[in-house]
Symmetry: C3
Subunit: 651 residues, 3 copies
């Protein structure tokens, strides 16, 4: 791997004539590029006809980069099967839940379960490791591209066949499957394995446990396709990764299952261009990447210099925004600043995606900013390998995400991200850096654990949370958590079955609000979406509903349990209301955080350094901080962070 | 059938272990349950493999209920073909109009026209009647479940084959079919029967007469599947029914065709949770149920104790609402208060649907309300078999509903329910109980008949309406009525061809309004959606348009015809405007109704009793009513109905 | 062809009994009808079974018309293949991009590439020309109906096969194709022709160059189907046409490719009923029709007397509106006023479409207006063959339209028609009649050429525009013009590559605005949708942005180039803002136009006459015009055009 922080991006030299390729290397050096990703879309160039391999062109490029001291992250190209593959194996094309065959002209156009696709993938990995496994420029392997985007579940025949195998392995007996899926409902009992189909679109709701398992299966099939290649590539002794399609945005993949299989976590992050304060979601994506990396460094594999082509409007970044974005990722644990893409394509689907070299060329603000950022990145070498530690963890569970968002839930307004985002934003504005955790993880080191609508909570996970509190931890649980087990079966007894004891309360009935309806709490906070009838068992009420279907009943509670406290929030608070409430809980849990800073200043400590990123329009003066040298300026830090600026200071 | 009013609901004991089943019976007795529906989703339990039947489990359950004096409404389970059926007969899965195959994992997953499905259905009915036909607990048969929801039309090969047979029978000759369908338009003439396909989705409009016939055909195929089972079950001498998927909500079935085939009418009613004053739509559903029952008693087969799982938000019922709902159904002729479902499922698609025993168990408001309602229901035994009589009828015709809502009508804002709902609400607020009638029915007994946008009106029906007026009746016709015949062919001459003579006017041209555009009438009423050029022939104008495309021309007319009067309303009035206009018409027709009552008080007379249901937030004092005993309290009626309360008093 | 202006419409006598047909002819004479279109939907009547032809019925009708001096525009009926055809050739039914088969019950239900459909089409044309080629009543041939609506692209097997042939012919070598399509992007290189599929729907974006070529291919296939019939029909020596499905509305057909193949241009025009000032779009459609006709006369083949059945609401025309519409078409070059349809159908899909004889019959305002219009039309015989000349041209290019509206453009708000409509409306309100031109056309005769977001601009076209300015022309270019070449490949160098030299500027980066966001220009004009960073090279700035992402940078520029000037507009101005700016450019270019007339008065000069059409609610007095005879009144023109009225005066 390169020295210091890696800087560079996706590089597709095959799209350009030789003179441009030669200019590329010259400009990479000018910008300080030290790592590029190659080959991701080059299957047809590597294997122009089935079994016919051509690597000369790639040898030349890798050598040229190597001669310029630029390292290579070498991709396996399985995300784009060639036209000859689509023609020869038409049944490898994915099929949608509705039964439509996916056309071959895009990407992710082969089913991960298809035998011919698996065989071809393995052959490619073998050829690549044989040819480049010992090349000094090749420092890392990049398998496939963004598993799960756009291809999550496939409903082709190969998938159904693999699905039955997967079920046999998971359940061993049909009795176990019938019980787990609750096939007694709507008479769905299976008498033979081959009666089980994929949960195809039907004109009304399909068994939710079956759908949940199919989501798991689809995840595992992609993961298995990844492992197949990884195991081959690892023969080289070099690290293997695959780039996540946005940790917080890729719903179809359970990244907790993927993380242990990667030698290094790699994340692609794209701003939601039109969202105000989208740097908060960036921080969330980075924190989740670091959490997947077990708190250690990770790689920002892709982000953009400016506009993103696949959003409704390609909103360009404002002055300084690319720099703030890049450094925020580094602050939160990234050891790289990599872009999609080095040079904007003149043709193809993504020509309107921004790049390090825009269509306007090097006489452009973007190029000047890239060169300047390259210099910044070099100055940040001392933060490399530094760790970020958090006192607060937020539960994030893809299985619960999937389950919560199936059809016919108590309210269609219940969305996993709605609650996670609300809590994350409140914590961000309180300058609290968080880790994300699976509910079964070791959480003993945190002062506070937040559970935002973890609808699905297996009994073991619930017990884990309970033990945490018992041992002195502080838990904050949102409504609609701990409701069903891993098969979407309601935990026995009153809600929230799995958390009733630790919370010291039960919920008698849900009272989803009408569209746009709100409820008020004592103290004045406003809730949307949800109300419910809380019955105190041992907990005490901290707030009550003052109107709506549960007027006079508890809305916020706290329960002393063992050495800790479990708090419960029965309402969908947001913004300042949630922040105020969370402040009380943070104080109770003893979570340290800076006070008196504007909530536009991002403050993150990584290793021996503190990153100060000013997202506001006015300079911010920070008092009581270091007077040491700002890594970015090389000058002593005065305490002032200019509007839109960044400082990285010791301490 | 049970003594008094039936009380209970759908019961799926197969979802629960034995100890819960035993508790169920104990709790049913506590709540006063005297009727449960069994077996509706139990095909795979009754026939776990093709031709292998198992009924021991059902024997046990029926006996247990029988021992507790609880009667059984025994279902045929054809709504959920087992997985083995789907695997063996993949071509029995329905196909959508667009050509997509419906997945097997939901319900209504076999086509009613498929021979194997028909054969299996008959065999099941034979087995059930043989085994339980003489069981004293089994008091009624419940065929299938909610025909038409979600499966209305199917486009599979079996359907197309049955469709051609149906057409041969209907038309006898291709000449007759070509004429009826107007195949001269767009050159659609058929030269052979086998050239006729189902009216599949195309990229522009398909022959509307063909589509209308396909809707009829689909209805008849389901009805034929019902009759097949009914004829077998009737060997037992016990009544046979099937539950309508909401009389007013199930567009795909023509319930006038079904009603004569049922031994007792059964309706499922679910509130639109978010709609204000949704008790008015409840009353409409109940009135239509009674009308289908020929004015006699009917059964409320399903409703909910609280939240409904399949709506966007599962809005819980407010305190007292379940009671008001239940008693309103009884007031309007139901001899039962039955729920979907006895006990909330812990798994499957409908786990968030409310039940008589919620997930919270019996220590819950819902359970206490259920027990209390059971006692109320017992006290209402004297109203059983009582009839409701109406002085006003509203025309409701599914064929017109279908025809009106095909593509390319004069305005997409023309919706059948829009006008029916507007008239019904105005009548409800005027405390007028109405019957619904087919336009060809005997209407001679009504003082007023309302025709709300009966676009399709066969000549015989139009003549029926005309004779009614001639004989002294009062008719109120809305715009866009009597426009086409049973084949969607415009009646010859100026609009409204079929009603021109009785109305004494013609309509020269339609002038649909733009989105959100309104017109004003003399007197100030506001119309939306529609304006048209009325030309008086013998009628007199009662109101004129004062603006819009027909300013200065008649908007409301009246025509003395024979012994009666035919009024016409050319504008889409609503709310108080429509209520005021309707008040005039009611007065002219001599329709009696209480005055000076708030429009939140529902007042219905059934047999020897009057139901007073207060939907408002304040108590209502009724003067001049009985001082007899309120059936619900057992105490003399003081004249006051408390806020949210109900009284049932003699008279 | 008839003397004077043709008057009449589509006539479907096959829908009516003999007595109505006889009345039709009598009424046609009363209204002055001199041309009707026959046979368009009559395939199954002409060929009731494959190879069995029957024309006796048509002989009778044509003779009856001929005896009444009514000419016939005889249609080939290929738009509606008979049911026997659909049954025999099920694979001729079109397939959508998503893979759904189009049902046979509508129209355009055969694929233009299918061999059996082609063969049948040729046979029909041969029979028609043999039987009617010399019939004196038949004055013109009308091939098919509205190619491209609703069937644009088809994805059936016949299409794919024809597509590969088309590509072989276009590119000759796979290397050329791979280069043109940029298959290096996402690894889409083709090694054999048979690997190439149609650009079917996929789960993400398909190669845009491939999609663009498929749009071209689909256009050519329809055109080839037209030519097949035309070449046969031309044996008669009589003119052949096909009616365009609205020149400005039919996106799927490149009418510049069609125009040279037609003996006379024929347009169908339907108002957008709910759009305010929809007479401006009518004018645009007429101007484009005339432009396709090379400035000469054309035929208005269809328009409506009032409501249109296929829009969301069938908005009726206001008093005088049909007359103003009809005469506006004549003013802009039409030598006909023809309607769809003569008599409103009583059945079928289009029964709610208005007609010359409405359902109400002849005692109706529509019929009286039709008769009166017939008289007006007769009085306009002197304008026949007159030409309209324009000093201003607007670039209209279907290929750019297609390319601009593929997925993943810089902003989804960029729409071809949005900009064209904005410029056209401003010019219309300035009383400037415009021609539309292809960017490669000879434009040397115009004072001003406007280029509204011509995203795709081939190098030859760009050079054409540059030469025009060099030679003294004035060019006004909107943002997002000249960006890509004919393969959707970005022109090399900074934007707008193809126009950079003539405009004397470059655009460094695009800055699409957020939804509803606006920017302001010096002088106060407001822009939506777009902002961009303009860098002056030789141009001078006329306006700057005062806020938004490009505050302080140029928004409007002008560049003296050779003998002319090239202006650039970097913002999406509309309404009065655009009109004011355009006024400056018109003045600079020396475009003459009347001043001091209200912008509700349409003024067009055709041949020796000026049409004055008052769309406003108040009379308009025109000074300085002729005092000659108004063709419509036969009286001297006083200078006053009444509210809603029309005058046609010499000069």
């Amino acid at each position: 791997m390169p020295e210091g922080i890696a800087f560079g991006g996706d590089y597709n030299p095959e799209q350009w004539p030789l003179e441009v390729q030669e200019e590329d290397v010259r400009l990479m050096r000018q910008a300080g590029v030290n790592l590029v990703s190659l080959g991701i879309f080059a299957w047809v160039l590597m294997e122009p006809a089935e079994g016919v391999y051509e690597f000369g062109w790639l040898d030349t490029i890798i050598d040229r980069l190597h001669n310029a001291d630029i390292s290579v992250n070498l991709g396996t190209p399985t995300t784009v099967p060639p036209a000859w593959f689509a023609r020869k194996y038409p049944d490898a094309s994915p099929v949608t839940r509705e039964g439509l065959r996916v056309g071959a002209g895009a990407r992710e156009t082969a089913c991960s379960s298809h035998p011919a696709f698996r065989a071809a993938s393995a052959r490619l990995a073998e050829r690549l490791v044989a040819r480049y496994g010992e090349h000094p420029a090749v420092v890392m392997w990049h398998v496939h591209n963004e598993y799960g985007a756009p291809l999550g579940e496939c409903y082709c025949e190969s998938s159904v066949s693999a699905w039955r195998d997967w079920l046999r392995h998971r359940y061993e007996s049909l009795d176990a499957l019938n019980t787990s899926w609750g096939t007694a409902f709507w008479g769905q009992h299976y008498g033979e394995w081959d009666e089980i189909d994929a949960p195809r679109w039907s004109h009304t709701v399909v068994n939710p446990a079956q759908r949940l398992d199919y989501a798991r299966f689809a995840n595992e099939e992609h993961l298995s396709h990844y492992r197949l290649q990884r195991d081959i590539l690892r023969q080289s002794g070099k690290p293997v990764t695959t780039n996540f399609a946005g940790t917080v945005n890729c719903k179809s993949m359970d990244l907790w299952r993927w993380a242990p299989e990667l030698d290094v976590i790699a994340n692609d992050h794209y701003l939601n261009g039109e969202q105000p304060d989208n740097h908060i979601q960036l921080a969330m994506s980075a924190d989740l990447s670091r959490s997947l990396a077990g708190g250690g460094p990770w790689l920002l594999m892709e982000h953009s210099t400016s506009a993103i082509s696949w959003q409704p409007r390609g909103i360009a970044k404002r002055p300084g925004e690319m720099r703030r974005n890049s450094l925020a990722h580094v602050a939160r644990g990234s050891d790289s600043v990599l872009f999609f893409q080095w040079r904007a394509s003149r043709y193809g689907a993504e020509k309107w995606h921004s790049a390090m070299i825009p269509h306007a060329g090097t006489d452009s603000q973007i190029w000047r900013d890239v060169v300047s950022l390259g210099a910044d990145v070099r100055r940040l070498a001392p933060v490399k390998d530094g760790r970020v530690t958090s006192e607060v963890a937020v539960v994030w569970d893809w299985e619960s995400y999937w389950a919560l968002e199936l059809e016919w839930r108590p309210s269609g307004d219940l969305r996993f991200r709605e609650r996670v985002d609300a809590f994350y934003e409140a914590l961000w504005r309180e300058h609290v850096t968080v880790d994300f955790v699976h509910p079964s993880a070791d959480i003993s080191g945190y002062r506070l654990v937040v559970v935002p609508s973890s609808y699905l909570l297996a009994e073991g996970s619930a017990k884990n949370l309970q033990r945490y509190v018992e041992s002195g931890g502080h838990l904050l649980v949102s409504y609609f958590s701990g409701i069903v087990d891993e098969n979407d079966t309601v935990h026995a007894g009153a809600y929230p079955g799995a958390l009733r004891e630790v919370l010291g309360l039960s919920v008698e009935e849900f009272h989803p609000l009408r569209e746009l309806e709100t409820v008020t709490l004592t103290g004045g906070a406003t809730g949307r979406i949800w109300s419910e009838r809380v019955r105190l068992e041992r907990a005490v009420a901290m707030r009550h509903f003052t109107d709506g279907p549960d007027a006079g009943h508890p809305a916020v509670t706290a329960n002393a349990f063992g050495g800790g406290t479990a708090s419960y929030l029965a309402a969908a608070l947001g913004g300042d209301d949630l922040r105020a409430l969370l402040g009380e809980v943070l104080d109770r849990a003893g979570v340290s955080r800076p006070r008196d800073l504007p909530d536009t200043l991002e403050l993150v400590r990584r290793g021996a350094f503190t990153f100060l990123i000013n997202h506001g329009d006015a300079p911010v003066t920070v008092t009581g901080m270091t007077t040491g040298t700002d890594l970015l300026t090389g000058a002593p830090f005065t305490g002032e962070v200019p509007a839109g600026g960044v400082a990285v200071v010791p301490g």
